[in-house]
Subunit: 166 residues, 2 copies
């Protein structure tokens, strides 16, 4: 009888150890997974930013400066070329409206590359401005995008020209 | 005798369990620490970038285009205003040398803000260019900095003017 208790004890112990080690490894694996595979995916973010730029182009072609300004964060800075930077949607709307009133009818934006993290992406791109079908400006830009309420918004926007000023 | 074996077995089991649980918790804590307290500190990174800009200003004032070019990554892009972007240290050296040969004798750089993560920082700043003591250019810039071998290097550099071209 004592011998059989002894064996039962040993079996119980073995089971406890196996359970303990298994649950320990499981915990470690879960943690490891959370560290090594974050939900952030740069390729997905790039696709979302390309989509946001498509909206930008559509609002621009529709001369919708309010729609455009709403693509920026509330505290965004538009770092226009040949003018001091302006901050906030109202000022950005006014600056973009000024560009459109100067005769620019559409814009093309091409994403070259993106870098960053979950809520903040830096984009390098190329822009062209058009008067009807004619290209009147070719340049390059850096946009810092911030994710606000699940949507990518322009937070800092700077560009310049590929050609010397005439 | 069998009874004492039984107790010894139980004690051994208890010790094994305690050891197993302790080592498991220790493992979990180590992982947790690595996740929750990363070594990255944005304020420190900002100070490092301000220091790198100080080097930039010193190399510029010394008309040392090689020193300046070495502050950029090997694959950096200098997105000059009024010219297409150039890539790589040799081309960047040549572009900066051209700016200095045009008569610009010094540059001032003021960091406005930085955002980012361990190996990648986006900086917003203000720049002034001087001919001797006279300011001849005031503008703003965005620089994307990359940490290479423990040092912050300019990776993307774009700027434009606060004034319309003359």
């Amino acid at each position: 009888m004592k011998n059989s208790i002894n064996y039962l004890t040993l079996i119980a112990v073995a089971l406890l150890l196996v359970f303990s080690i298994t649950s320990c490894n499981k915990k470690a694996e879960e943690t490891k997974e959370a560290v090594i595979e974050p939900t952030f995916n740069l390729a997905n973010a790039k696709a979302e930013i390309v989509a946001a730029n498509k909206e930008f182009k559509l609002f621009f072609a529709a001369a919708d400066s309010i729609g455009l300004a709403n693509l920026y964060t509330q505290d965004a800075k538009f770092m226009n070329n040949g003018a001091p930077a302006v901050t906030g949607r109202e000022n950005i709307q006014s600056a973009l409206s000024g560009i459109m009133k100067s005769g620019i009818s559409s814009i093309n934006l091409v994403t070259v590359d993106v870098w960053g993290m979950e809520n903040l992406i830096t984009e390098e791109g190329e822009l062209s401005l058009f008067v009807d079908e004619a290209i009147v400006y070719q340049g390059k830009y850096i946009v810092l995008w911030k994710k606000v309420d699940g949507e990518w918004k322009l937070f800092r926007d700077i560009f310049n020209s590929n050609l010397p000023a005439e």
